[in-house]
Amino acid sequence: MTNSPADGELVTMTLHGHPEAFATLVERYDRAVYHLAYRTLQNVEDARDATQEAFFKAFRSLRTFKPGAKFSTWIFAIVYHASCDRLDRRKRFSNEELPERADATPGPEQQAIDLDQARRLRTAIDQLPEKYRTVITLYHLQGRQYDEIAEVLGLPMGTVKTHLFRAKEQLRRLLGSTEVTES
């Protein structure tokens, strides 16, 4: 059994003058946070910046973290909002409607690689509209904890369940079709 401190304890330690405890939180969540940012923004640079921004904001406003809350839900909410801000900025600076797959066009080498199951699933997720893509990514990260997904997205739980149902429906349709479009 591991004796590593819980997230809440690491937050408390950071607040009590041990900032190195925050490093453990970064190690625990940077990959998941980046994953959510990347799935939302579909661009490596933007996802990296949003991830950095989220952790920086979390570090600066750690005092506002409610004791007893889940750190993962909190940091996911921060990165989700940071990603939405970036999407808004992207929309403002481009007159066109955002493409469904903003930056996911693979190069020729990539196209040559055989599609395995995970790759096909990723591609199918990328083809979902943004609201479904985010909800399915959070479902992937947080499992069936609908209340936490709702908290991250700031949506009623019923809406989350509806989005998830439709997202899965679309995913099944995309994956069941002859080939997932790899444009």
């Binding site: 591991t2 004796n3 590593s4 401190p5 304890e9 690491l10 408390t12 330690m13 950071t14 009590h16 003058g17 041990h18 900032p19 190195e20 405890a21 925050f22 490093a23 453990t24 970064v26 190690e27 940077d30 990959r31 998941a32 980046y34 994953h35 990347y38 799935r39 490596v44 996802a47 990296r48 991830t51 950095q52 952790f55 920086f56 570090f59 199951q117 995970a118 699933l121 990723r122 399915i136 479902y139 992937h140 499992g143 899965k168 995913l171 099944r172 994956l175 069941g176």
Partner: protein
Amino acid sequence: MMYDSDDALDRALFALPLEEPPGELRGSILTATAYRPAPPFSLWEVIAIGAISAVTLWLVILVALGGGALFVNTLAAIARTMATGLSNVMVLGWLGAGAATALWLSLFTSSQSAVMLRQRFEAGRGR
């Protein structure tokens, strides 16, 4: 592969590996947060340095404008005011109460829980 049931799709989703973040990402996050170099002065030190600098400047200007007598008179007035304040029992009482409260708070709120958590944290990292 077809995903006819919810379970099959769920299994595939939960088995999906997370995206690999760029190599330098963790380092840059840590540099900006946990391992950020401490500022050379704390907020209180900056305030104290600012206050001392302002008073020094004010005294220098006094000396420059009015010569030694004005400087000495001003210092005497400051000393008189401080002596009057510190000889007042009420003022001393409030100062004592403030100092005792600050000491009590620092002893019983931060140090104990922080030490315990730090020990667990270091034990966890050492594994």
